[in-house]
């Protein structure tokens, strides 16, 4: 369970990136677009947060990078999930579900006698 708000935000972002990359190899911009589009434009990730996160994840060995050419023939860095990244993703997903259901239970709870 995340211990403070910044950690939880960072952790969530990492988590989302991992999930995004589980669909295949993408470059950084594509990751940001995917999250933006699939959150109904609610989550817009700034470059200042995205790229450090990507490099952090690469450092931890959960994703690996390769330089390649994009659709429009530009040189870009592509990321994909590693085996240990996939494992981390599974753990985080289950952890997230536990967290949210716990929060929801508290929200729905009613004190006795009301």
């Amino acid at each position: 369970m995340p211990r403070n708000i910044i950690e939880s935000v960072q952790g969530t972002l990492d988590f989302l990136i991992l999930k995004t990359l589980s669909w295949g190899q993408m470059h950084g911009y594509a990751v940001a677009r995917w999250i933006f589009d699939n959150s109904s434009e609610e989550l817009q990730i700034e470059e200042g947060t995205l790229y450090p996160a990507l490099h952090r994840l690469e450092d931890r060995g959960w994703i690996e990078a390769e330089w390649g050419l994009s659709e429009n023939n530009r040189r870009a860095k592509f990321y994909r999930l590693t085996a240990s990244g996939r494992q981390e993703l599974t753990e985080r997903v289950s952890s997230w579900h536990r967290f949210t259901s716990a929060v929801n239970r508290v929200l729905a709870a009613v004190p006795e006698g009301v």
Binding site: Y29, E46, Y51, R56, W67, L69, R75, K77
Partner: protein, 894 residues
């Protein structure tokens, strides 16, 4: 995603650049954003402006990513670094295995140097460096009395007299504790074979002064000292065993404390056992018994105690020494008869224990370092030769982009692999070698702490250190010289003598000159020591040791408490021994020649005024029985030897040696004259004969005056039987022992040796040093010869073309020979010159080990260069003769 074009990937070969990558990534992102915005309808400039605005603080992002990138880069660099070291190692091993001849010679040479150095270091470490086995041994000093000037106090007997000792104790302030002991042989009987043991009669506080605890039980207290026992030196009825005795005689019995043992017939209770490494001043006695001396019964006679003391904290040996000198002066004034001319010194214990051997060991250490240097020089030369052969390979690698540093590192790796292999070989040889040396030493050789010599952690660490040092030492120069970028010259044809070869040539020549010089120094050193040993052996000991057997016994205990009992034993034993086949003469003596230290007795003429106190001549007193002089081969110079006339009721008869005759009766015939000596009461007797001088105490000093008493008139407890035979003395050993057993089954025979062994032991240390140094010198000579051969052979191959030309122009075989050999001899002469200068300068360091030769002994200094030159001549001749035989046509064509 499509892969990058190949050319782009190659750019990364020159080293990845994390910050450029970050730039590229961010730029890409920005351009995608701009495209998106443009697709939504914005113009290019507007799109770009908005994209940049949205981007936020680019700088911070850039910085953070750069940091992460750099961290990752460092980690991968480190992994790469290890990888390349591993690569180097594998490459080095493969290269070395490809030229097995070179590799083996190099490893053997290194093994030789490192092995010899390790072996000597093992001995030096055990004897000189390791701690002495007492608590805070630096605080312990030996108090020793000496007369005239101190001289070499580590040689002095460490003697102190009981009388003076008590005064020292009461008057001195420098010591927290003072103790003393004396060591005598005694017989252990009763529970098994009678055995002679070395017993230390010591003051109760000996163990506490040394600061040691027993392994079992307890040690003496003051209470044990005060109860007088019947006769003998020992007080009380207790004893402390040594670990060795406990194991060997009592099988390590854990219940030994409380049991009784019979020492010289007296029962004693064992109260404790000491630990296995315990030693007192390097002595390892078998047993300790309290010493029965108290102020009440002190005698002035004889300075026979070994006194040691612990300094108070803050007091140094020099300070204590000064205080003792002052006390000695006071005692001189108080007891002039006894103390005139005597002073006291406080010698640090370490000095006393190892002082005598230190010079020899240091010389050996120095010599073996020279040997190691020569070995390194040899291997360096070999490597230089190899580097020349691999010039092409080196040039190619350099041109393909390898840095010089990388190349040097790889060559050094090769050197280290060689030296580690050599070190392993050397270590094995050293372990086996030291064991063999230690085993081959005679049992009573005077090397202190002999039994602690073993290869242990310290030695291994030392070996590792010098191995690595050696590797760097001999590897650095060839590596640096080989990696010099000289592409043009190297890529050209190699066989003709190229310019790149000449500086290597000079280097190799220089190394050979150094080798020859070092070898010369070792040879000179060895030569000097060997001549000393020769001189030592040639010394006339005064006895004829051929065919003589000796047995040692000590007549202790109740059964030999009276002179009558002792005479009785001799009366039985001597005729029995005389009757054995081949026996020519049988005699006894209290101490064998060349075995004991001085005991400081005096003797002088009663008819002249007694000598002034402090000027009394010192005399060795020996007690002889049977036909001792005949058995030992000592000639009779005047008068007669002892016979039946000198029985117990007759007037005391003396026999003196020529030295004493010269001293007391210059120009007169001493036979018939009288002499006296104190013991402590004055004993007067008539001189009945004069015998030849015998070196009673040491080979090195000239014979001192000696006085002999007959056993029939004056007995002793120390007995050495001397038997002269016609045949091999050892053949008689069994029969002689049996005869003793028959005369008294409870009397143990302590040691049986031939007189020749006794004499050999006296020169043992000199023999060992000269043999060891001689071995090193021969090895050094061999290595230097091999080095010279290598260099001359190399020069021959370099000059093949030139030689071919000369031969074609009419040079004879002799001319060529002279040319090549001449070069070799030139190098040799240079080396000899340098070596002689160094040897002359440094040989003074050997002075304390020399006997009968000076440090600039002409014979040695002339013979050695001649021998060296001779060997060098052969070493140069061999490759030269091959060159002279070469076919000029093929030489020119190559």
């Amino acid at each position: 995603m499509r892969s990058e074009p190949i050319w782009r990937r190659y750019l990364r070969l020159l080293g990845s650049d994390p910050s450029a990558d970050v730039e590229d990534e961010l730029t890409f992102h920005l351009s995608m954003r701009v495209e998106d915005l443009m697709r939504r309808g914005l113009g290019e400039d507007q799109a770009r402006a908005q994209a940049e605005r949205e981007f936020g603080d680019v700088g911070r992002v850039r910085r953070e990513m750069k940091e992460i990138g750099e961290r990752r880069q460092r980690r991968s660099d480190r992994a790469q670094g290890w990888e390349s070291i591993w690569q180097d190692l594998r490459f080095a091993v493969r290269t070395l295995l490809r030229s097995p001849g070179f590799t083996m010679i190099a490893i053997l040479t290194l093994g030789l140097g490192i092995g010899a150095t390790t072996a000597i270091f093992t001995v030096v470490d055990a004897v000189l460096l390791r701690p002495l086995g007492a608590a805070d041994p630096e605080e312990l000093v030996i108090l020793t009395e000496y007369r005239n000037e101190a001289g070499d106090l580590s040689r002095a007997g460490g003697a102190a007299s009981p009388a003076n000792l008590f005064d020292w104790e009461s008057q001195s302030r420098s010591f927290s504790s003072m103790s003393y002991f004396v060591q005598w042989p005694q017989n252990l009987t009763g529970d098994g074979e009678p055995q002679e043991v070395q017993v230390q009669f010591s003051r109760g506080n000996l163990f506490s002064t040394l600061g040691v605890q027993p392994l079992l039980g307890r040690v003496f207290t003051a209470a044990d000292e005060l109860e007088p026992s019947g006769g003998g030196l020992g007080f009380g009825d207790v004893a402390v065993l040594s670990h060795r005795l406990w194991q060997s005689r009592y099988g390590g019995d854990p219940g030994i404390v409380g049991k009784r043992v019979l020492v010289n017939g007296e029962p004693r209770e064992v109260i404790g056992v000491m630990g296995p490494d315990f030693r007192v001043l390097d002595q390892k006695p078998d047993l300790w018994i309290p010493l029965g001396i108290t102020p009440g019964n002190r005698t002035s006679q004889g300075r026979f105690l070994v006194a040691l003391a612990r300094l108070k904290p803050g007091v140094g040996p020099a300070m204590a020494g000064e205080e003792m000198t002052a006390i000695a002066r006071r005692l001189e004034a108080e007891y002039p008869d006894y103390n005139t001319g005597w002073s006291v010194a406080a010698v640090p214990m370490r000095e006393k224990v190892i002082g005598q051997v230190r010079p020899a060991l240091l010389v050996l250490l120095g010599a073996v370092s020279l040997l190691l240097l020569i070995a390194c020089t040899n291997v360096a030369n070999l490597l230089l030769g190899r580097a020349t052969a691999r010039r092409q390979e080196t040039a190619v690698r350099l041109s393909l982009g390898a840095t010089r540093g990388r190349l040097v590192r790889q060559l050094l790796t090769e050197s280290l692999v060689l030296s580690l292999a050599g070190g392993l070989v050397g270590l094995t040889a050293a372990v086996l070698g030291t064991r063999a040396i230690v085993r081959s030493l005679p049992p009573t050789v005077q090397l202190p702490r002999l039994d602690t010599i073993s290869v242990d952690g310290r030695v291994l660490a030392f070996t590792l250190a010098i191995t690595i040092l050696t590797g760097i030492l001999f590897g650095l120069v060839p590596a640096l010289s080989a990696s010099r970028p000289d592409l043009q010259g190297a890529l050209r044809s190699v066989s003709r003598g190229s310019t790149a070869g000449s500086s290597t040539m000079r280097l190799r020549n220089g190394l050979v000159v150094a080798q020859v010089a070092l070898a010369l120094m070792l040879l000179v050193g060895a030569g000097l020591l060997m001549r000393s040993f020769q001189m030592l052996q040639a010394v006339d000991t005064g006895v004829d040791p051929r065919g003589v057997l000796t047995l040692r016994m000590s007549l202790g205990g109740e059964s030999y408490g009276t002179g009558e009992a002792r005479r009785g034993l001799l009366g039985q034993l001597l005729p029995a021994l005389q009757g054995l086949p081949g026996v020519q003469a049988v005699g006894t003596v209290s101490h064998l020649p060349l075995t004991e230290g001085k005991m400081g007795h005096l003797a002088y003429r009663p008819d002249l005024p007694p000598p002034a106190p402090g000027e009394e001549p010192s005399v060795d007193i020996r007690i002889v029985g049977g036909e001792y002089f005949a058995a030992q081969g000592v000639p009779l110079m005047a008068g007669r030897t002892f016979d039946e006339r000198d029985h117990v009721d007759a007037a005391p008869a003396f026999i003196i040696n020529q030295a004493l005759a010269r001293q007391q009766f210059p120009g007169e015939d001493p036979v018939g004259k009288r002499l006296v000596y104190p013991w402590p009461d004055l004993i007067e007797g008539v001189i009945v004969g004069v015998v030849g001088d015998v070196r009673e105490t040491s080979v090195v000093e000239s014979p001192s005056p000696a006085l002999y008493r007959s056993f029939s008139q004056w007995t002793a407890t120390n007995l050495n039987v001397v038997i002269r035979t016609a045949g091999d003395p050892l053949a008689l050993a069994g029969a002689a022992r049996a005869a003793v057993q028959q005369a008294d089954p409870n009397l143990p025979v302590a040691s049986i040796r031939t007189m020749e062994e006794v004499v050999a032991e006296a020169t043992a240390r000199s023999r060992m040093s000269s043999y060891l140094l001689g071995t090193f010198a021969v090895l050094a000579l061999l290595l230097a010869a091999i080095g010279l051969y290598g260099v001359v052979a190399y020069a021959v191959t370099q000059r093949k073309g030139e030689i071919g030309v000369r031969v074609a122009l009419g040079a004879s075989r002799g001319n060529i020979l002279r040319l090549i050999v001449g070069q070799g001899m030139l190098l040799t002469m240079l080396g000899v010159g340098v070596g002689l200068l160094l040897a002359l300068a440094l040989s003074g360091l050997l002075r304390s080990l020399l006997f009968g030769v000076t440090a600039t002994d002409a014979v040695t200094f002339i013979t050695v260069p001649v021998v060296l030159a001779g060997v060098a001549l052969i070493a140069s001749y061999l490759p030269a003769s091959r060159a002279a035989r070469s076919d000029p046509v093929s030489a020119l064509r190559a």
